[in-house]
């Protein structure tokens, strides 16, 4: 049992921190791959900007080839509501409101990251040759945050809400990133494509090495779709994330006696089953886009219902 407001804050604390983590992985991959100017696969910043910054077409076109400006927009800009700086600040604000429910170590780590992204010279650091070093440092801070939370947070209700936030956010990021990559090939799985073409997505989701180990069939597009949606051993797959949501949600329900628990539980199970009991072969060829959008819509709806049940306090 805990204050609804605290549960809400913990949920959003980790949603933002997971988003920060996802953003940093994308930025790091993008930055490194954009250095391979000779290859056809060198990505521009377009995809990262469309996912993590709300820009119109002209803005996007202006920034996509300008690494320093793109980095500034994605990491340091306060006008971009999904920039790292804004997300980490929001995470910290939630942590501040729930400070007596997170461990001192978690709070201190988050503070360090907060002060790093809010230093006045951040934009300068990101514009020069030291950009990658700063990105790496931020990435490490983010991983430390997760590790310290893992090592020091009590396994009580707060931990469950933290994880609900993390895995709901993670499933959404994976869907969003994958959907855009598959859109780029017209959702056509039949045309043969090289694994190199998928490297950007897989590295952004930290799944490239796993892919090389587990899949080496002739149809890379199919394999990638399987990995991001259905591979339970891949920690950024949709099925893995929903499996974690299932676990923490079950634990939350076990301690709760609210009347609307049953219908909320059914809603989630139906969503979970729709991913769990399907496969790449079962999704119709022309239905990949619809599948992504259906699952995404239902995850968002579940998040909304969850908050109505457990977080309503004002």
């Amino acid at each position: 049992m805990m204050l609804s407001r605290i549960a809400d804050s913990l949920f959003w604390l980790n949603r933002y921190m997971e988003r920060a983590d996802g953003l940093l992985r994308v930025v790091r991959t993008n930055y490194i791959m954009s250095l391979d100017k000779g290859s056809d696969n060198a990505p521009t910043w377009r995809q990262a900007l469309t996912v993590f910054a709300r820009l119109d077409e002209t803005e996007c076109a202006r920034l996509e080839h300008d690494t320093p400006l793109a980095l500034k927009t994605l990491l340091a800009e306060t006008d971009n509501v999904n920039s790292l700086r804004v997300i980490v600040t929001k995470a910290r604000e939630n942590a501040r409101g729930a400070q007596d429910h997170i461990s001192k170590e978690v709070w201190e780590q988050l503070n360090q990251m907060y002060h790093f992204v809010n230093q006045p010279k951040l934009a300068e650091l990101l514009s020069g040759a030291g950009a990658l070093e700063s990105i790496d440092r931020l990435m490490r801070q983010s991983m430390l945050f997760n590790g310290i939370a893992e090592a020091t947070m009590p396994r009580a209700l707060g931990w469950r809400f933290l994880n609900l936030g993390r895995y709901i956010e993670r499933s959404l990021i994976t869907i969003e990133m994958s959907d855009r990559q598959f859109a780029a090939i017209g959702y056509n799985l039949e045309e043969p494509r090289e694994i190199l073409q998928w490297k950007y997505l897989l590295l952004s989701l930290s799944g490239y090495e796993l892919h090389l180990k587990m899949y080496r069939t002739s149809n890379a597009s199919r394999d990638v779709l399987h990995q991001v949606l259905f591979d339970p051993s891949f920690t950024r797959s949709v099925i893995y994330a929903l499996g974690r949501v299932d676990r923490y949600f079950t634990d939350v329900l076990a301690e709760s006696n609210r009347v609307d628990n049953v219908s909320l539980s059914r809603y989630f199970k139906s969503l979970y089953s729709s991913v769990r009991y399907t496969d790449v072969d079962i999704i119709p060829h022309n239905g990949i886009q619809a599948f992504f959008s259906d699952v995404k819509g239902r995850i968002l709806e579940f998040g909304k219902r969850l908050s109505q049940s457990f977080f309503s306090y004002s």
């Binding site: 805990m2 201190e108 209700l157």
Partner: protein, 481 residues
């Protein structure tokens, strides 16, 4: 340059009581610290200063300054050199505060029930009636064990001959205790060797004592009463302290919107529905506590909470209406209260205070404006204070006009030459003025004071204003045996 040389350059100011040096000699309580400092060089002291600042910053012990529309977080200035009080000095201060707190609790009970002290004309009834913090809404409410002041932060200063005086009684929601506790933790990190060579009395049990007192106030005899700390929220400047105390006591930190009153009982809204709350340590001012009774626009409080309080279904700490006892005009009468209620002589002296409603005293003050400090009776934090020796002519004129219009709203006191202690500033040891705020806790078993308190220091050279809102910092404070 080694610290030995810079210590030798330390010069206390003539006409002030320096707590470390007396006529070129070092007072015995400072001897060991002085010896250790002599062995360090300026670089390593600056390193320690930097480490201390990082520790505060990473723990989020900060306040926000706004410039260019961007908030930058700063720490409250901390001076690394501890301030030392002897056991004998502390014994005197402790007895004085206990006596004062017993008296002020009796006064609050009296003024909100029989009002004997007014009827006996020890304190003019008009003075109480005209106090904006005299809260008619709580007249007749009984509180557990007749304790109104559970937590007091009585400000103590030392004059030019070392005498201790009470400067003001903070009996509402005194803050700063987390700095007292954190300052100690940080000092342990930067000067562990000083702790091995001195016998320093412990302060870290403060939250445990406070928690025991809060538990004892639950309205009914129950095994596990629910105690909460009510905060105005994350934008309050003392928010860090609220989270610190809540976690040190293991109690829930709630905001007004987390609480709801139903049938004169207070509940908090949890993931599992409503749960009753029995004791509230509130860090919200009276005015904002209940929009149905006090300020109707308050969004920080809980509608109906005063009803629950009146019924005895919830204990509120500190009690509502305490402001009448720490009003600066009523302060002048505390020595008379001590004689009246306890039949004892005050152990700690008041700073002489001029009553500006009295035409003779007012005239005297106006004739000696350069020697007094003028304070508003109902402000704290150093706001509305005019230092007669520093203020410009137009400020003094404005103060005079304000006093003419509302003599009850002001008091005047002679400017006390606050004692000085050594501080490490800009790579040098320099004397700075300090005060002392010990935190006293009052429960069914009497008054307990953790040894020491928060030393606030006026970091600007020559300044006598120690408030954090006016450029003050703080120091770790030791009571040594």
């Amino acid at each position: 340059m080694s610290a030995e040389t810079i210590l030798h350059h330390y010069e206390s100011k003539d006409g002030f009581w320096d707590e470390m040096s007396a006529e070129k000699t070092i007072r015995p309580q400072y001897a060991k610290v002085y010896d250790l400092l002599q062995q360090m060089d300026v670089g390593s002291l600056q390193q320690k200063e930097k480490l201390a600042n990082e520790l505060f910053l990473n723990q989020g012990i900060t306040f926000t300054v706004y410039s260019d529309n961007a908030g930058i977080e700063r720490i409250f200035p901390f001076d690394i050199i501890p301030r030392i009080i002897t056991a004998a000095e502390w014994d005197h201060v402790e007895r004085g505060i206990k006596q004062r707190l017993r008296t002020l609790n009796l006064f609050l009970k009296d003024v909100y029930s029989a009002q004997a002290i007014l009827k006996d004309q020890i304190i003019p009834a008009s003075l109480v009636a005209s106090c904006p913090h005299f809260t008619r809404e709580v007249y007749g409410i009984t509180v557990p064990y007749d304790i109104y002041v559970h937590i007091a932060g009585i400000d103590i200063i030392r004059g030019d001959n070392g005498t201790f005086y009470v400067l003001e009684d903070n009996l509402r929601t005194p803050s700063g205790v987390s700095y007292m506790l954190e300052n100690r933790e940080v000092t342990k990190r930067i000067f562990p060797d000083m702790f091995t060579s001195n016998r320093i009395r412990l302060v870290s049990n403060y939250p445990l004592i406070l928690h025991q007192i809060l538990l004892s106030l639950a309205p009914a005899q129950m095994a596990r009463p629910t105690v909460v700390l009510l905060t105005p929220g994350i934008y309050n400047s003392a928010y860090y302290e609220h989270t610190f105390l809540a976690r040190q006591m293991g109690i829930a930190l709630v905001e007004g919107r987390d609480l709801v009153v139903d049938k004169n009982k207070v509940y908090m809204k949890t993931t599992n529905g409503l749960e009753q709350v029995h004791v509230i340590y509130r860090r919200i001012d009276d005015d904002f506590l209940d929009p149905l009774v006090f300020r109707p626009e308050s969004a920080l409080g809980v509608p109906g909470i005063m009803g629950a309080y009146r019924k005895g279904n919830v204990a509120i700490v500190n009690a509502v209406g305490n402001g009448v006892a720490d009003d600066k005009a009523i302060y002048a009468h505390v020595p008379a209260m001590i004689r009246y209620y306890l039949n004892e002589e005050p152990i700690l002296a008041n700073v002489p205070t001029y009553n500006l409603r009295n035409p003779d005293e007012r005239k005297f003050v106006f004739d000696h404006l350069d020697q007094v400090v003028i304070k508003r009776t109902n402000e704290s934090g150093g706001y509305g204070m005019v230092m007669g020796n520093k203020a410009r002519d137009e400020e003094l004129q404005r103060a005079k006009n304000d006093i003419h219009n509302d003599p009850r709203g002001f008091i005047a006191q002679p400017i006390i030459k606050l004692s000085t202690v050594p501080c490490f500033i800009d790579g040098k040891f320099q004397p700075r003025h300090v005060d002392l705020r010990p935190y006293a806790l009052c429960g069914p078993d009497g008054v307990q004071i953790v040894p020491g308190g928060l030393t606030r220091v006026a970091l600007r050279e020559g300044s006598l204003v120690v408030n954090s809102s006016q450029g003050g910092g703080s120091k770790d404070t030791w009571v040594v045996d």
